[in-house]
Symmetry: C2
Subunit: 460 residues, 2 copies
Amino acid sequence: MSKPSIPQGTRDFSAATVRKRNYILNTIKKVFELHGFQPLETPAMEQLQTLMGKYGEEGDRLIFKILNNGLYEKKDKAALQQAWDSLLEKPSSNTLITERALRYDLTIPFARYVAMNFNDLAMPYKRYQMQPVWRADRPQKGRYREFWQCDCDMVGSTSVFNEAELLAIYARVFKQLAIPQISIKINNRKILAAIAIYAGYEHHLTDITIALDKLDKVGWEGVEKELHDRAILADGIGKIKMIVDVQGDHASLLQHLRKHLATIPVGLLGIEEVEQILAYLHSLSEEAMQLVKLDLCLARGLNYYTGMIVEVSTNAVKMGSIGGGGRYDHLTDLFGVKGISGVGISFGVDRIYDVLEELNAFPETIYTDTQVLILNTGKEFEADNIEVLKAFRVADIRAEYYADANKIDKQFKYANKRAIPFVVIIAEQEKDNQTISIKNLITGVQEALSLAQVIQTVQS
Amino acid sequence: MSKPSIPQGTRDFSAATVRKRNYILNTIKKVFELHGFQPLETPAMEQLQTLMGKYGEEGDRLIFKILNNGLYEKKDKAALQQAWDSLLEKPSSNTLITERALRYDLTIPFARYVAMNFNDLAMPYKRYQMQPVWRADRPQKGRYREFWQCDCDMVGSTSVFNEAELLAIYARVFKQLAIPQISIKINNRKILAAIAIYAGYEHHLTDITIALDKLDKVGWEGVEKELHDRAILADGIGKIKMIVDVQGDHASLLQHLRKHLATIPVGLLGIEEVEQILAYLHSLSEEAMQLVKLDLCLARGLNYYTGMIVEVSTNAVKMGSIGGGGRYDHLTDLFGVKGISGVGISFGVDRIYDVLEELNAFPETIYTDTQVLILNTGKEFEADNIEVLKAFRVADIRAEYYADANKIDKQFKYANKRAIPFVVIIAEQEKDNQTISIKNLITGVQEALSLAQVIQTVQS
């Protein structure tokens, strides 16, 4: 038997990690529910055809496909061989060989769920979803083949009040997680579309968003080069830069946009959406209002956004965005249900985890490990030890008895390795004095107390 | 685009289902932690070789295998073709085509984790794990291809005090879940081994356990036929039945066993283990003591048990076992780490869910849906509506504002469909009187109140 291992890019999560991640997820969950969102969980496996073609060519390649079971029982070997041959020739897939695949994100399964259940769902439908996803990406630092996503979306309402709600959710979550220096950048795809028209490149919107999306990494010089490589001429580049490379408060930025884009219908729509969102947010959440900043350079990579886009980061730690989202008008179109506008945000759980780790901001209360270990002092004290164990549990104290008759040294080692703060000792002396010894392994202080006092000591 | 669907045997879990399942898992989790168990989560994908050969031939066939990505990029097409050919001929697998697979249970990943991390773990290592598993079984009522398992195991301690702890955990969990008429049957594999020796069929232990395991379904006649089919003669069958087909309290059963098996070393060991476990349990948990019953016919299907075996059911609902487990001495041997004894139990989450559903025993408090919907009464009241929304959230009340300007009828329909108990209405009249109308959709009562009173109404 060779040494056991786990697949590249996957991780075992031990106790502390599970608790920290659950702390993040539970905090977010409570805020989602405060705002009326409901949980949904979809299966790890989706039909392959549900996923294929939804994430671009690269995505199709990175989807984990599941081999059909019982291939050897199939009759039509010729068809199977043909499917296999094509698999060896190009990046393809065939339902004869693979019908199912692991979900790649939570958005497409959500759209599939809405399309399947459209007639039964109360509209607007507001759901949140927190589950792992799988991607056959090349593993590297911070990039895994199995990782958690945490999304909240609402479909079936066109009101931009929802956009304000989602921005308020961001502000509330990060306040509760105590992550400082949060920046919530927003922009609007309609404004970007108007800029493309204004620059004379109406049909290059995707090129422009792809180029702008790289601004943080490559600076303006890089963006200009990218635009140039994508066949946008200097005049167009100049116009784009003139509109988006502007700093200022909301009022001045909106005035600037109105000046140049108000005559372009889609531009005016975009400007009005931003104004309405900010007005709603102003009455809804002062906290969020202080964190939200209109950033005309914000583009976001995904093509399906059609209105507001948003991205969250913290300046307290060097880390990419820790959240993002936006409005999309055609997501369920993919599954034959048209005209259902939606808006959603997601939280980057792994990065939020790293931020909290770096800030040392996980609260002490999440560590629900064992609080006290009762040492095994021998058969003659076992009845007393078990009595104390029972009393701890009645008092809701997480307690263990060291069951094996090992040397006391070894038992202390176990307590230390497990980081159990208290150890209880009952032996001759304690028995004679009708006391219980309790040792605090952090301070080293040992006391002989009554049972009630011991319980109080552990609880305090 | 064809109608979207999900893979056969998988399920979408909507809000109520997620909440009910989490109620079960959280209840169990707290009891696990009270007894010193710590969470572990392993990846959905394991190396194929970690799983293959661990669940018998049938298991090997039912493991979901993941197709390697990028097969078309591989150079050695001849080797691939050979691997493919063997896949078409017999139930086999080949790491050239599939290196990874979905976990089939939580036990083997746990053993793999212990073997991989043996030098770093505090021993005894006590972990619990609650995650979905996948099996390519033929889907049928109550049998799914994705379902949750919930296990708690401890390895690295041979003391049967741990057996008593696990029995106490069962009793505490089912008491907290308020499932009545719980029966916790225990037996011991060493006693079964002694019975095989006593009957003159030392090497037929597996045959005997397989036959006995069917007693509930086929009765004694069926068991006798099964034993006969497995080449056990009438005399042997008679001896087996004479030992195991006995009713009585613990003392009389143990006396019966001592009378017949005390001269067989493994039998004596088994009898002493049962006695010790019962003695520990007597001092540890009166509750558990009342539910535990020695049942000499209990066999359990799995071959890896070597000591106590346990199975839980309720007589309140017609349903198979809702939990089971036992002691195993050689689990990590599979991964090259020898001599680590362990003992574990698992909870049948899906069946416990069905039991609670049938008993109507899910508590009301788990439904953390939206408590109040603020109706959209028009643009002119929007500021007031949002003010009330903010006040609700400050008071930690789960509230929504109906963002779209739809007809009031439609808004009420939404509240009803979502089962939101309260609706708030602010229009002309309320504005004039400086009140807020709140309607209880369950009783139909509508009142005009102050904000403080409205908040109190929702909270009460």
